[in-house]
């Protein structure tokens, strides 16, 4: 028990630090959602993921985060994903609703973490296994990380919408509400420890960022040196080759509760936030 708390504390501490660093690399104004800490995407791939995430956010109101890492500092894939999400300040609404897809090269796992009432409800355990066991897994095992992330995003958006409709049409029963009743303010040693750890991490991270940002950086790009109007296109072809079609049966749950009626198991992250989620090794 004590060991477990300590481990959670350490995890929270490390991940908060990483989030602070990652987030500080981008100015607060821009809404970064792709954190490619393991360097698996090219710049343009990261950009395309960001764009797709923004589109889906506008269309469906789902807040996606894509994270890659090659070092979780000893924590489990699940803890890393949950803590990254909590510390990054992502999500919409009062319950910070959103979904995070993590490619964890350290533990060789992919993981989908859900947070907030609606994502946890609409992305139940079965659905999550379906997503992380499908295209996302196929691409990641082929080393195509970009398409793995893209598939995870697309599939999540798709099933989210499906299950939401199912619920709204009365097909789904309300899944069990997150455990852990609110029993008021209660200061325990564990809590003091965790809060202290988070404080140390945040302060250390912030001062670290101040230190790292002292030197100045390269601000010019290729465009600054391009002569105005001096691009000549000699040839430009986009040739259609073929079309492939993949079909799969949409799974219906046997409990008669409809697609959205599946069970969503939940747990608490080190910061005390309720998450759902699931993963798959590769």
């Amino acid at each position: 028990m004590i060991f477990g708390s300590f481990r959670k504390l350490l995890t929270g501490l490390y991940i908060l630090m990483i989030t602070v660093f990652s987030a500080a690399a981008v100015t607060a104004a821009s809404e970064q959602r792709v954190y490619d800490d393991a360097g698996l995407f090219s710049d343009s791939e990261s950009r395309e993921l960001e764009e797709r995430i923004q589109e889906l956010k506008a269309e469906q109101g789902i807040d996606f985060v894509v994270v890659t890492t090659d070092n979780t500092y000893g924590s489990s894939t699940r803890d890393y994903a949950d803590d990254f999400y909590d510390n990054g300040g992502f999500g919409t609404g009062s319950d910070n609703a959103g979904v995070l897809y993590l490619i964890d090269m350290d533990n060789r796992q992919i993981y989908l973490s859900t947070c907030g009432q609606e994502p946890i409800r609409y992305l139940n355990d079965d659905t999550i296994q379906w997503i992380v066991g499908g295209e996302a897994l196929r691409h990641v095992s082929e080393g195509d990380y970009y398409r793995s992330a893209l598939s995870a995003i697309e599939d999540t958006a798709y099933y989210y919408e499906e299950n939401k409709n199912s619920y709204e049409n009365g097909g789904g029963s309300i899944s069990p509400s997150p455990k852990g009743a609110d029993n008021g303010f209660d200061l325990s040693a564990t809590e003091l420890g965790i809060s202290g750890g988070i404080g140390v991490a945040a302060a250390g991270g912030a001062v670290g960022v101040m230190k790292a940002n002292r030197g100045g950086k390269v601000t010019v790009t290729g465009h600054d040196y391009m002569k105005k109007g001096a691009v000549r296109i000699n040839d430009q072809r986009d040739m259609f080759i073929n079309r492939t079609i993949v079909r799969h049966r949409i799974r219906r749950d046997d409990d008669g509760g409809g697609h959205g009626g599946g069970f969503s198991s939940t747990h608490h992250s080190s910061g005390g936030v309720t998450h759902g989620g699931g993963g798959h090794g590769f």
Partner: protein
């Protein structure tokens, strides 16, 4: 040959004045346009690695000077003309825009932004260490051809009955483009770090002037150590990256793009040796030397200031207390 220029009115030394953009006599306020000088030249010859200051006659060791400098005894400009001959003669230069008072101001402003910078470091007295230097650069104009082959996919999915259908259209994409780049600059001094120098960019090359020696009157100027042949591959590498990034960005409208191969050839490339202005600053703090550079045209500062442990600690404690309290409050509500 070591030369400098004397004032036709009073005989004092003429120096290039940044504000006025003219050759100027500090003694009687005489000014004249900057041009190749035919008259009013004082000169003294190099004798076995030593030379006399043309103004005061003091003896200097030639090894301590590069292309130009200042007499430590009388402050007169010293321009060493044989060190800028043939391929060592700069083709052009960008004159300083920031004079000493503007550089001071820009530097202090930059120091103020450093939240961890020690108080001593921000004192005005340290500004005596700022000195203007013309740094050797190679600038290059080039025309490149980039050919890129990629595979792209457009994915859409829809529902038919109780089946999900994912349709993927596969494309073969080809691009062949010529792109012109101009004034790609790369520093030619071994003593200056390439990455640090790149951080000083951009310079605005509209301000380039044909080089004549009087621009150097009163400034230290450095000759290049890395010649055109050595720098050309480094510039090509940078330009190749720019070109391929540009061509890649022209492939749009797909769910995913994978570049199969790309090749960039230089159809033409020329290189000129130029001098670019920077303010250089060296400072010793607690036994460590810190170097800073400021773009002499734009005022952009590069370099890592020292860290005050006291300030870092104060920030740490401040942030810790705030986050700790917030975390306790949140934790208390949630757990």
């Amino acid at each position: 040959m070591v030369i400098n220029f004397n004032c036709p009115q009073c005989g004092a030394d003429l120096k290039y004045n940044i504000k006025k953009k003219l050759l100027h006599c500090e003694h009687c306020d005489y000014t004249e346009e900057v041009r190749e000088k035919q008259d009013g030249i004082r000169e003294s010859a190099d004798e076995d690695g030593r030379f006399h200051c043309p103004s005061c006659g003091a003896v200097h060791d030639a090894k301590e000077y590069d292309m130009s400098g200042i007499c430590a005894y009388c402050g007169a400009p010293l321009i060493i003309s044989e060190r800028m001959e043939g391929s060592y003669r700069p083709v052009k230069l960008i004159p300083f825009e920031y004079d000493k008072s503007q550089a001071d101001e820009a530097f202090l402003k930059w120091c103020d932004k450093g939240k961890l910078t020690p108080k001593e470091f921000k004192k005005k007295s340290i500004l005596n260490h700022l000195k203007p230097i013309y740094a050797p650069y190679w600038i290059s104009d080039s025309v490149v051809n980039t050919k890129m082959r990629a595979r792209a996919e457009r994915v859409r999915s829809y529902i038919v009955g109780d089946e999900e259908v994912i349709e993927t259209e596969h494309y073969s994409v080809y691009r062949d483009m010529d792109i012109e780049y101009e004034n790609v600059d790369y520093d030619g001094a071994l003593s200056l770090d390439d990455e640090e120098m790149h951080k000083l960019d951009p310079y605005s090359f509209e301000a380039l002037k044909d080089f004549v020696a009087p621009y150097l009157a009163g400034f230290e100027a450095r000759q290049y150590d890395m010649g055109a042949e050595e720098i050309a591959p480094l510039i090509q590498k940078r330009v190749r990256g720019y070109a391929e990034e540009h061509v890649r960005s022209s492939i749009v409208g797909y769910s995913s793009v994978m570049v199969m191969d790309s090749a960039t050839d230089f159809l033409s490339m020329n290189m000129d040796f130029v001098l670019l202005p920077l303010w250089f600053f060296e400072y010793n703090y607690k036994g460590k030397t810190y170097n800073f550079m400021m773009n002499g045209q734009t005022g952009k500062v590069v370099g890592e200031p020292p860290v005050s442990n006291g300030k870092a600690f104060a920030w740490f404690i401040g942030i810790f207390v705030i986050v700790f309290v917030i975390a306790l409050l949140i934790g208390g509500l949630l757990l």
